[in-house]
């Protein structure tokens, strides 16, 4: 049973436009959410995170929105750039997360020139 779901395996967006990546979760104990970006043959790199006490967190071109009642979060990238082409993983944890992160399957974002 997947506790973190990314239902879009891939997403194609034109350069300069907004990219919106979605993530749903089922475990109401999750209280911290993270987005990781992954290039081929590299490890995931941290992008942005949000605590469950917030509904928005912004860092430059990246904004994460959290809707707790819907158990849904989204990552917005504005404007999208060619270097943003990668696989994006949504991850969640409860408490301090000492026992690891729960990951979605990832969304492959392709930025078209």
């Amino acid at each position: 049973d997947q506790q973190v779901k990314q239902n879009s395996p891939s997403l194609s967006v034109q350069e300069g436009r907004i990219s919106i990546l979605n993530c749903d979760y089922t475990n109401s104990m999750f209280d911290y959410f993270l987005w990781y970006k992954k290039y081929p043959a590299e490890g995931p790199t941290f992008l942005i995170s949000i605590s469950s006490i917030k509904d928005k967190n912004e860092d430059g071109r990246f904004t994460v929105f959290l809707n707790k009642s819907a158990k849904h979060l989204s990552l917005h990238i504005v404007p999208s750039q060619p270097g943003d082409s990668a696989v994006y993983f949504c991850a969640a944890r409860d408490g301090e997360g000492a026992d690891g992160l729960t990951f979605g399957k990832g969304t492959h974002l392709i930025i078209q020139p």
Binding site: V4, Q6, F46, F89, E96, D99, G100, L101, F103, G106
Partner: protein, 111 residues
Amino acid sequence: NAGVTQTPKFRILKIGQSMTLQCTQDMNHNYMYWYRQDPGMGLKLIYYSVGAGITDKGEVPNGYNVSRSTTEDFPLRLELAAPSQTSVYFCASQQGKETQYFGPGTRLLVL
């Protein structure tokens, strides 16, 4: 800081062989993790450790063993390699409630 390093980068094993995947971090993090990623899937937790001498099973521990004798090192042992263990393995470390940092991965092929 080198961060989290993993060796080897790539390895081919025959069924039944054993090997150890190495992981080292130089950030003095207490928490360390091993994940595997199969094609088209997210990362799944194999084992984790909250400090030297303490290890615990994750979601998919069967066929693996770990040890944590120092803060820096967290090796993952495969005793009898099986084709189902063909995957990419990622090691990660974390300090308290901070972000989890990942190594570059080890690609393992079992034939």
